[in-house]
Symmetry: C2
Subunit: 329 residues, 2 copies
């Protein structure tokens, strides 16, 4: 690989002249032309490591994603990337694969790479990870989950749960089934459920809970079990993928949606548009979250704002589609 030193020797000038040529530009016409030619011919590219080492600045932001094939994450990434590209920031993307130990390793690895901040899509959070977040010298912004004393940006998951419950109530449903996930995931497993439950109870509805997993396939299999004996008239699935799994199972069992049962999800993934009827859901501002995250993280980097001041909860919106209907006694 050709280096700045090589260029200098070829041109019979000093390193500093070449460096100046590449940057500021206090270089004579003659020297400039000579260097133009050599750089062109050799295809010289400055070593970013050497530059960053000296500059003590990398202009990189690390992003830890939970997995590659999550549609919501990818939309958030789209938002992050849009801003990063505009601002000339380099992203260092790592995959935790939903593994908390791998998440911890990723954080260390990003610190070694001297990224200026980390945007972390966390799912589960344990004590060790909390400790790692607190003691980090570089800002770590949590996304999609909230954590006390840490900067975070998430969605109004509690309100989302309320919205769906209110929708069910408004349509006359009083026997409700909530198909959720583990409480280890605070946003999805706890908040959505709690918002839903609170509104349901206020209105005197009964709520039954079933726990499943995020996977559409597993939810589908689970639904094949519980659907035949269902007594409720409304199913609130904790995510759109779970909703689609349940939808598929009901198609298979000959249960008509929304005639026999109303069904809704959370998220607003495009998949809710691909089934017929489309699935009622709560639309989440994924891309906006991504944009907000990277803008806020820049404030943290520049010390313009304190950690504790970043606690955004982005608002969500009910999207009523054909999978839910008014209960006609």
């Amino acid at each position: 690989m050709v280096t700045l030193n090589d260029i200098a020797k070829m041109a019979n000038v000093s390193k500093s002249t070449v460096s100046r040529y590449l940057n500021n530009g206090a270089v004579s016409q003659k020297t400039r032309e000579k260097l133009d030619k050599i750089v062109q011919e050799t295809g010289y590219q400055p070593n970013l490591f050497a530059q960053s080492l000296k500059a003590e600045k990398t202009n990189m932001i690390g992003v830890i994603i939970p997995r590659f094939n999550s549609p919501s994450t990818n939309q958030v990434m789209d938002g992050i990337d849009t801003v990063a590209h505009e601002e000339g920031i380099q992203l260092m993307i790592m995959n935790s694969n939903l593994d908390i130990e791998r998440t911890k390793k990723n954080i260390k690895s990003l610190q070694r790479q001297r990224v200026e901040a980390i945007i972390l899509f966390a799912t589960a959070i344990d004590n060790e990870l909390t400790e790692q977040l607190k003691s980090s010298k570089i800002p770590i912004l949590l996304v999609g989950q909230e954590l006390k004393n840490s900067p975070f940006i998430t969605y109004q998951d509690y309100a989302a749960g309320q919205l769906i419950a209110q929708h069910a109530i408004d349509n006359g449903h009083r026997k409700l089934l909530f198909v959720g996930v583990t409480e280890e995931d605070y946003a999805v497993g706890v908040l959505r459920k709690k918002g839903f439950y609170d509104i349901a109870k206020e209105n005197g509805a009964t709520v039954r809970f079933i726990e499943t997993e995020f996977s559409r396939k597993i939810s589908y299999e689970k639904a094949l079990e519980f659907l035949p004996e269902i007594e409720e008239t409304y199913i609130a699935a904790a995510t759109d993928h779970i909703a689609v799994g349940i939808f598929n199972a009901s198609m298979e069992l000959g249960i008509k949606i929304p005639d026999d049962i109303s069904l809704s999800g959370f998220g607003g993934y495009s998949v809710t548009q691909n089934v017929f009827p489309h699935i009622t859901t709560v639309s989440y501002p994924f891309k906006k979250l991504g944009k907000t995250a990277i803008l806020e993280v820049q404030k943290l980097i520049n010390n313009k704002i304190k950690n504790e001041d970043i606690t955004h909860k982005l608002s969500v919106e009910l999207t009523i589609q054909g999978s839910t209907r008014r209960l006609t006694k």
Copy 2:
């Protein structure tokens, strides 16, 4: 940020001793204990840039993806990441956003970062990019497209087109519509179409072509236009997303699939499972492609294999589902 030098001063030893402590280990028990404590307390992490600069090795592979929200790309990424994680390779992921100029910049940027190889998901390829690929000092492996004299890994797109056409023919269809994309995309726009066309012609079928875009929404709108006047009995969409767009439009127009028209896609995305009936498609081995790509690229890095020897075309498989049916006169 605490450096090796800081540690050395705190411990009253030289840099080299600290370095040895961190690596080989020819260090006395006493010194070791002293350093253990200091490193622990300071949370010291070696600067990866400084290490790489000296080592002249980064252990990084660059990946240029076309966009973040492409399901097929994400599955390939999953494959790449799986192997990368096993082998302790760091991925540097960049997004070209389907922009050829941005692709070129990404390549330069990765070269400056001294990645050891690049895996490039290219869509369109122009002369300048071809030139950039040829003159690159580090290996660049093309994925999903083929290019003469460059290493590439792709799918058997021509065979995929043949498979679908044969399926249509076997089911008695003789009036076929192929809904494709621009020929700038060689794999999707040319090969699939050509494979389809060749088999159709061999069997005396008529083929009409319509060009659309990759987007489901645009395909949906286009389908709203052409579906009402359609005379063909079989529609082959060039991707599953396009197929879903057409499917949505036909639902809207009251056209029954497969009763009125048979419809198929290419890809094998999960979305084909979410509509009813499921959509017949050709399943592509996305994850396998990713794994193969990173394994092959390592061979290139180690000079174990020449550029020209990497020309894999992974085999594909017909997945017959409910959206296509035998034509009963």
